[in-house]
C-alpha cells in the first residue's frame, strides 16, 4: 500500500473510531425520518436548507471536531516527522472529508429523489459536494 493510500485509510479508520462517521450517518438518518412528516411542498422548500445544514455544515463541524482532537493529542506533530509530505497529509484529509460528505449526502438521496426527480437531485448534490 502506498503512503498516500495508507494515510487515507488511517484518516477513515480514525473517523470511524472517533465516531465521526457513525454520528454523521445518524444525523442524516434523523433528517430523512423527519421528511416523512412533511408535505411535498414543505419538503421542496426545506431541502436546500437541509442539504446545506447537514451535508455541508455538519461535515465541516465534524471534521473540525476531528482535527481539534488530533491537535489535542499532538498526533499531527508525529505525522510531520514521518517520511510523508505535508501535501500528502492534506490530500488524505481532503479525501476523508469528501467521504464524510458523501456518507452524509447519500441517505438524503432517497427522499429527495422521490419528490424532485433524479436529475434535480443529482445536480443539487453535485453542487454541494466538496
Amino acid at each position: 500500500m502506498s503512503s498516500q493510500a495508507r494515510l487515507v485509510a488511517g484518516e477513515l479508520k480514525r473517523l470511524a473510531k472517533y465516531n465521526i462517521l457513525p454520528v454523521s450517518l445518524a444525523t442524516a438518518i434523523i433528517w430523512v425520518v423527519l421528511f416523512l412528516f412533511l408535505s411535498e411542498q414543505e419538503a421542496r422548500e426545506i431541502t436546500p436548507l437541509l442539504i446545506f445544514v447537514d451535508v455541508a455544515a455538519m461535515s465541516i463541524l465534524l471534521l473540525g471536531a476531528s482535527h481539534h482532537l488530533e491537535k489535542q493529542e499532538g498526533t499531527i506533530k508525529t505525522m510531520m516527522v514521518m517520511p510523508v509530505s505535508t501535501g500528502q497529509i492534506l490530500a488524505a484529509k481532503t479525501v476523508a472529508s469528501m467521504v464524510l460528505a458523501v456518507e452524509s449526502a447519500v441517505p438524503h438521496l432517497l427522499p429527495c429523489f422521490s419528490f424532485m426527480g433524479l436529475l434535480s437531485t443529482m445536480l443539487c448534490f453535485c453542487c454541494l459536494l466538496p
Partner: protein
C-alpha cells in the same frame, strides 16, 4: 567517528517574537554518542530540537546532517531519525498496537513491534486503547514509536519522565544498547540521573545560548571541590572530617583517621549534576 550534526551560528526567531529564541549557537553531535541538551524551561532546547528535526526551517546559520545541508534534505530524512516527543503523541481511541502498526507502515525498514513492546512491558496491553493507558505507559509507548524505523539518530525529550524506576531502567538500558550499536542520541531532559547515566557529552542552554559543552565527568571535576570527606562513628555519633585531595596519600591526619576510627563513608568532593545545573544555569532543578 563521523559527525551526525554540525551546527554553526544557529539563530532562530519565531514570527511573533521580538527577539531571537536561539542566539547563535554552535555545537557538534558526534555519530555514536549520546548528546544531552540541558537548560531551564524557555532556554531554547525544544526549539533547537525542532530545527534539527526539520519542523522549523526559517533559521539562519548552518546545519549539516552527516555532511549534507539539512535544508537540502527531503522527507527521506525521516527514514533515518526517530523522535520521542516530551508529551506522548498517539491516537487515543486506537489501541497501542493499532497505533504502532499505523506509524510503522510509512517506513521502508521497521523493527519487530512485538519484541519492542514486550521489552517495555506493553505487549500484554497491546489491545488496550491508548486513551486508557497511564502516563508511564504512554511514555513507554512513545519510546517504542521513536524506535519503530530502526533510526540512525534518536531524538528524545524527557524520555523517562513519569516512568517508574523499573521501566526507566529498561528504557535507559535500551538507549545504551542503541548507542552501543552505533546509534546517535540527542537527549533533552531535566532528569539529572538520566544525564549522568546516559550522556557522553552535555551542553547547557541558557538564555538562548550554549554556555558550556563538556562530558559529565569533566564538569563534575571542574565544578567540584578537590577534597575528600570522611564520615566516621565516634562515641555512637556520626562525625566527619574533610581533607584536601591533593597529597591525600601523604596526609598523616587522614591516614590516622582511617586507622583509628570506624569509617562509615568516604567521598570525593565532585559536584552532583544537580549542583552543576544550578551553578551553570542559575535555575533550581525541579
Amino acid at each position: 567517528m563521523g559527525v551526525a550534526f554540525k551546527v554553526e551560528d544557529l539563530r532562530f526567531r519565531y514570527p511573533s517574537s521580538k527577539e531571537d529564541t536561539i542566539k547563535g549557537i554552535t555545537f557538534d553531535v558526534l555519530e555514536g554518542e549520546v548528546f544531552g541538551l540541558l537548560g531551564p524551561s524557555g532556554a531554547g532546547k525544544s526549539t533547537t530540537q525542532k530545527i534539527l528535526i526539520k519542523l522549523l526551517d526559517d533559521y539562519t546559520g548552518s546545519i549539516e546532517y552527516f555532511g549534507k545541508n539539512l535544508k537540502s534534505l527531503d522527507n527521506s530524512f525521516y527514514e533515518e531519525i526517530g523522535v520521542g516527543f516530551e508529551v506522548p503523541v498517539h491516537f487515543s481511541k486506537l489501541t497501542a498496537l493499532e497505533n504502532m502498526k499505523f506509524f510503522s507502515g510509512f517506513y521502508r525498514q521497521t523493527v519487530d513491534i512485538q519484541g519492542l513492546m514486550e521489552r517495555v512491558g506493553l505487549w500484554e496491553y497491546r489491545d488496550v486503547k491508548v486513551g486508557e493507558y497511564s502516563k508511564g505507559m504512554k511514555v513507554r509507548l512513545n519510546f517504542v514509536r521513536a524506535l519503530l524505523n530502526k533510526p540512525r539518530v534518536l531524538f528524545l525529550d524527557e524520555v523517562t519522565n513519569g516512568v517508574d524506576p523499573k521501566n526507566a531502567r529498561i528504557i535507559k538500558d535500551m538507549i545504551a544498547e542503541f548507542r552501543a550499536k552505533g546509534g546517535t542520541v540527542f537527549l533533552t531532559t531535566h532528569l539529572m540521573n538520566d544525564v549522568e547515566e546516559l550522556c557522553d557529552r552535555i551542553a547547557f542552554c541558557v538564555n538562548s545560548r550554549l554556555v558550556e559543552i563538556s562530558t559529565p565527568r569533566d564538569l563534575k571535576l571542574q565544578y567540584g571541590k578537590r577534597e575528600v570527606k570522611v564520615e566516621y562513628r565516634k562515641n555512637g555519633a556520626i562525625a566527619s572530617a574533610v581533607f584536601p585531595l591533593d597529597g591525600i596519600g601523604f596526609n598523616d591526619a587522614f591516614q590516622r583517621l582511617l586507622q583509628t576510627e570506624e569509617i562509615e563513608t568516604i567521598h570525593t568532593g565532585e559536584s552532583s549534576m544537580e549542583e552543576i545545573f544550578i551553578l551553570v544555569t542559575g535555575v533550581e532543578v525541579k
